[in-house]
Assembly symmetry: C2
C-alpha cells in the first residue's frame, strides 16, 4: 500500500475520553473512530488487523472441523421466549419492533437460533457430532460502554456451537476446541492462559476462559510458572504447603498486647511475622431451622493470607452468601473484641485454612482483650477438627497440579469455551433418534472469541511510549519503507519502488510512505505509532555508501544493511 | 471437504413458500434457511458461495484503489436528522431505541456515517479523491420481504462512497468504479449489462444500474446486440429510423371504416399493417396561467409503437404528470371519437414521434367518425411542426449509439453506481480547503453491490430441471467425487482419497461424497442440485477397465477418462 493512496489518520494528541492504553492507541494510530457510545467505525488500518485475526480464527475453526455458517443479527423474540431468555436477559438484550410491531432483538449471542436450526436439520445420531461457527456482528446494549472496542456495544465475535448425543462426545469436541483456541492465540502471538472458570449456576460442566495477560485486565489470573495450570484467582485452589507440619519447639505463653488489634500492628510492635501468626474471622453459619438464629463459625487463616469468600460460602455449615458476624454479637458470645480472637479455647465451630493448619509455634489472639498467645501449636494446645481451603492463592504458592509455583497477573478475557449440557436443547426440544430409535435431547457446547476485543488485548500486551508493537501475524503492515526526499531523488525513488514491488510480490504487507512533503520525523513517528514491526529508511546519503537503515519495532538501535542485498535481508526477517 | 463431516442439507421437495427459482433452489440445495420473514441463515454451502462473491468484490475494490472500512450496523438518529432523511425515509428504515431511550436505526445504507467520518478526517483537497468501501450487513424493513435473499430484510451489501473536490474528479472515479463493476461481474461469470438509469429527483448526475439478465427480473432492459449500450426500457432513447423518409407514392384518399376504432381492427378488416399507420393520442398540455383550463396536445405514434409516458411528460408544452384528455372534451373540441383521430387538419398542437415522422403513404384517422385517410404523407398532406422521441423502444430498433439493434430482456438489479453530487456533503457541511485555502463542499459518489442478491441472481441465470448450474468462480465446490461402495472397496477408497488429496492440495474445492450408505442416485442428484460444475464417479467396475466416469454440469452425456491420468485431466478442466 502506498501512503499517498491510503488513510493513515494518526493523531498526536491522546484523546480525552480514552482511559485504557489500547483505546488511546487505536484512536491515535488511526485504527478506529467513535460513531456513538460503544459504536466504532474501523478505519483501514484497524480493519487490516481485525481481518488478520479473523483469518487465523477461521483457519483454525476449519481445521478443528467446525462448519462456517452465517446467522442474522436480528432475531425473532419467539425463539427467546422458548428458551426463557426473553424474560431472563437484562437490558443488554436490545429488544426492537419491526414495522408490523413484531418483537425482535439484536443478537448478543446465537444459542436460540442455532438450536432452532439444528433441531430442524439434524434428526439422527448419525449426523452427530456437529459443530457450527460464525464470525459475525453482535450487539449488547452495555449500560456503560467503555475502553473502546474492549467493551463496545456492537462488536465482532466468533461464536461456535456443538451438538452431541452424549457428554463423552461433547468432551471430545470440547478438547478439540480447547486446542484450536490455543493454536489461535499462539499464532496471533499473545501471552495468554486457558483459565479454569466458574460454571456458575449452570453447574457441573467444564468451562475455560482464555485470558490475555496484561496489566489493564479486569480479572486476576493465577497460573503456574511451569505447567499450563491457570485459574481465576477466586477459583484457584490453595493447596497445603509441602511436607509435614513442623514439630512444636516453643512453649505456649500469654503476651500482653494492649491496644494491638491487627496482624500489622503485632508485626510492628513485637516483630511477629504475619506468616507466623493466624487471624480468626467470625461468620454466620447455616441455621438449622427456619427463623432460628444462625450459629457463629470461626475461620482461621494465616496472618498474611486473605479469605476467599466464594470458597468459604460453598462450605457446609457456612451461610451463603457469606455474612460476617456483628461485632456486638462476637463480644457478647465470645467475650472479646474482634482484634483478640483466636482458636485456643474457642467455644464455636472452627474451620482452619490449610496453610494456617501447617503452622507451628504461631501467634494468635487469646480470646481476651489486649492479650495474644505465642508459641501455639495445633493438637498440643488446641484441637484441629476441620481443615479446608479458605483463602486466595498468592504468588509463590505451590501450583495445585504440583508443578511449579503460582504467579498472578491480570488478564483480559478474549475467549470462553463452555459445556452447556442440555440447557437450550431441552427448553427448545432439540432431539435426535439414537441407535435404538429413541429420542434423545442433544448435549451442547458453545465456544466464543471476542474477535474485535482480541485486537485491543494484543495492544494492551504490546506497546511502548512510541505506540503499538504488533505481533507480526496481525500487524496492519509488516514493513514501512520511509524515503528521504523521495520527490527529489531519482535514486531513492527507484530503490524504494524496487523494494516495495519485490516484497509485495512475495505477499508481504508493505507501507510505502510516499506522501509528498511528509517530514522524516513524522513518518518515523507514524510507523512506530502504528506498530509496524519492521522499518527501513532510504536516503541519498545512505545509498551513496551502499547502506540502508533498518530498525525492528522492538529494537533500541538502528542497524545498517547493504542496499544491494536489502530485499533478501528483509525476506529473511519478515514472515511470508 | 468430506460429506461425512459436512452439512449437505439438500431437500427433494420444492418448498411451498418459494416462488422464484433461485429461492426454491437455495432452499433445496441446502444453502439457506428461513429464520423469520426476510431473515435467512446461510448454511455452509450457501456461505461458501457468498464468500467467493465477497472475495471477488473485495479484490476488485482494492484494485480500484478503494480502501476497506467497517461501519456499525446501528447508527445514531442525529446523523439522519442532519441529512434530513430521518423524516424522509419510509418505514423501511427500522428506527429503534437503546436502553437509555436514545434513537438509533439499523443502517439500510451509510451515506450519513461515512460523510460524518470524512468531514472529520479529511480537511484538505490534497487528501482527495478518497474512496471507501465496506462489505457489511444491512437492514431494510421491507413491507413484504420476498424471493428469499433476493429481497430480504437483512442482507450483505458492498457499499462504497467517494469524495472529490469537483465533478471531474468524481467522473474519473466513477469511470474506474464502472470498470471495476464490469470486472466483478465478468469474473463471477454472469451475463449482465451496465444500464443507464434514471437519476430521479436528485437529478443531473450520472447513474448506472448493473443488471443480471434473467427471466425473473423485475425490470425490462434494452440493450444493443453489438455494443455495450443498455438502458432501462423506459429510459432508452428511440432514435429515428435510418435514412431519409421515403418519397410519397400514393395519393391521399378517404376510406369509410364504419365502427373500426383501433389499429388492430384496421389491420384485421382492411389488411392495413400497424407499422404503416399512425395513432393519435390526446393529452393535456401545460396551462399558461394558474386556474386556466389546460390546452389539448396531440401525440402521434406509429401504430405498432407504445407511448412512453415518462418521455412525453418531460416535453415542454405537455402537462406533468401525464394526463389523457377526457373523451367528452375530445368529442366537443375535435369533433370526433378517439378512434378516428389523425394529424391531418388537427386543430391543436401536434407532436410526432420520430418513427411516425419517418412514414410515407401512411393511414390515420380522418378526424371524422367512421372515416380514415390512406396514402397520407407528411409535408405534402399535413405539416409536421414538432418531432420528438415519444415511444418505448422495441426489439429490432436501431441502438441509440448507432451500433447494432436493440434487444430486450428482463434484468435483476445487482449493482448501482451513482453520482450523488453534494446532496449529503452540503446538508452535513462536509468541506475541504481548496488550493486557495477556500472552503469547498465535497462532491460525492456512491457505489453499491447487493452481494447476497448476486448469489440469487446467478442462480436465476444458471439452472436446469436438476438444479443449480454454478459459474465455476463462485461454485461452493468445483468437483464432486462420487464413490460407488466406498466402504466395501479398498480400490475405490484409495482412488477417491488420492484424487481428493491431489486436487485439494492444488487449492481446488472438492466435495468427497464419503457418507456411508449413501445411494449412488441420491449422491448424483445432490451434486447436480448443488450445481457442482464437475463430477466424477469412481467404482470398481470402471477401475477394473481403468476408467473413471466424468460429467460436466452442463454436459448432456457422461465421458470416460483414464483412471491413471484422472488427476491431470481434472486439473486441465478445473480453474485453480
Amino acid at each position: 500500500m502506498r501512503a499517498s493512496r491510503y488513510l493513515i489518520a494518526t493523531q498526536k494528541e491522546t484523546p480525552n475520553d480514552a482511559v485504557v492504553i489500547s483505546h488511546q492507541l487505536m484512536l491515535r494510530a488511526g485504527m478506529i473512530r467513535r460513531l456513538s457510545s460503544g459504536l466504532y467505525t474501523w478505519l483501514p488500518t484497524g480493519l487490516r488487523v481485525l481481518r488478520k485475526v479473523e483469518r487465523i480464527v477461521r483457519e483454525e475453526m476449519d481445521r478443528a472441523g467446525a462448519l462456517e455458517v452465517l446467522m442474522p443479527v436480528v432475531q425473532p423474540a419467539e425463539l427467546w421466549e422458548e428458551s426463557g431468555r426473553w424474560q431472563q436477559y437484562g437490558p443488554e438484550l436490545l429488544r426492537i419492533q419491526d414495522r408490523h410491531d413484531n418483537p425482535f432483538c439484536l443478537g448478543p449471542t446465537h444459542e436460540e437460533v442455532i438450536t432452532d436450526l439444528i433441531r430442524t436439520e439434524v434428526s439422527s445420531y448419525k449426523q452427530l457430532p456437529a459443530n457450527f461457527y460464525q464470525i459475525q456482528t453482535k450487539f449488547r446494549d452495555e449500560i456503560r460502554p467503555r475502553f473502546g472496542v474492549m467493551r463496545a456495544r456492537e462488536f465482532t465475535m466468533k461464536d461456535a456451537y456443538s451438538f452431541h448425543l452424549n457428554a463423552d462426545s461433547l468432551q471430545e469436541t470440547y478438547d478439540v476446541m480447547h486446542d484450536a483456541y490455543c493454536r489461535i492465540f499462539d499464532r496471533i502471538g499473545l501471552d495468554y492462559r486457558p483459565v479454569l472458570a466458574d460454571t456458575g449456576s449452570i453447574g457441573g460442566s467444564h468451562s475455560h476462559e482464555f485470558h490475555v495477560l496484561a496489566q489493564s485486565g479486569e480479572d486476576d489470573i493465577a497460573f503456574s510458572t511451569v505447567s499450563r495450570y491457570a485459574a481465576n484467582v477466586e477459583l484457584a485452589e490453595a493447596v497445603a504447603p509441602a511436607g509435614e507440619r513442623p514439630a512444636p519447639s516453643k512453649e505456649m505463653a500469654e503476651l500482653h498486647t494492649p491496644g494491638q488489634k491487627t496482624i500489622a500492628a503485632l508485626e510492628e510492635a513485637y516483630g511477629i511475622a504475619a506468616n507466623s501468626s493466624v487471624k480468626t474471622l467470625i461468620v454466620l453459619g447455616e441455621t438449622e431451622e427456619e427463623g432460628a438464629e444462625a450459629p457463629l463459625v470461626a475461620l482461621v487463616l494465616r496472618g498474611d493470607h486473605d479469605l476467599n469468600e466464594l470458597k468459604a460460602e460453598k462450605l457446609s455449615g457456612v451461610a451463603s452468601p457469606l455474612q460476617f458476624a456483628p461485632e456486638a454479637r462476637i463480644a457478647a458470645e465470645l467475650g472479646c473484641g474482634i482484634g483478640s480472637l483466636g482458636p485456643v479455647g474457642m467455644k464455636i465451630d472452627v474451620i482452619v485454612d490449610r496453610a494456617a493448619a501447617h503452622l507451628a509455634d504461631f501467634v494468635c489472639g487469646a480470646n481476651k482483650d489486649d492479650y495474644h498467645l505465642t508459641g501455639v501449636n495445633w493438637e498440643r494446645d488446641v484441637a484441629i477438627a476441620r481443615v479446608e481451603d479458605l483463602r486466595n492463592v498468592v504468588a509463590g504458592d505451590v501450583s495445585p497440579d504440583g508443578q511449579g509455583v503460582i504467579e498472578i497477573k491480570r488478564g483480559i478475557e478474549v475467549g470462553h469455551i463452555f459445556q452447556l449440557g442440555n440447557k437450550y436443547s431441552k427448553a427448545m426440544n432439540a432431539t435426535v433418534l439414537d441407535e435404538n430409535g429413541k429420542e434423545q435431547v442433544m448435549v451442547m457446547g458453545c465456544y466464543g472469541i471476542g474477535v474485535s476485543r482480541v485486537v485491543a488485548a494484543a495492544i494492551e500486551q504490546n506497546y511502548d511510549d512510541a505506540g503499538i508493537i504488533w505481533p507480526e501475524a496481525i500487524a496492519p503492515f509488516q514493513l514501512a519503507i520511509v524515503p528521504i526526499n523521495m520527490q527529489k531523488s531519482e535514486a531513492v525513488t527507484q530503490k524504494c519502488e524496487h523494494i516495495y514491488e519485490a516484497l509485495t510480490a512475495k505477499g508481504i504487507d508493505v507501507l510505502l510512505m510516499d506522501e509528498p512533503k511528509a517530514r522524516l520525523g513524522a513518518m518515523l513517528a507514524d510507523a512506530e505509532l502504528m506498530g509496524i514491526p519492521h522499518r527501513i529508511v532510504v536516503g541519498d546519503r545512505g545509498l551513496e555508501s551502499g547502506k540502508i537503515e533498518y530498525k525492528g519495532r522492538r529494537d533500541s538501535e538502528n542497524s545498517e544493511f547493504s542496499a544491494d542485498q536489502i530485499v533478501e535481508i528483509l525476506l529473511s526477517k519478515i514472515a511470508h
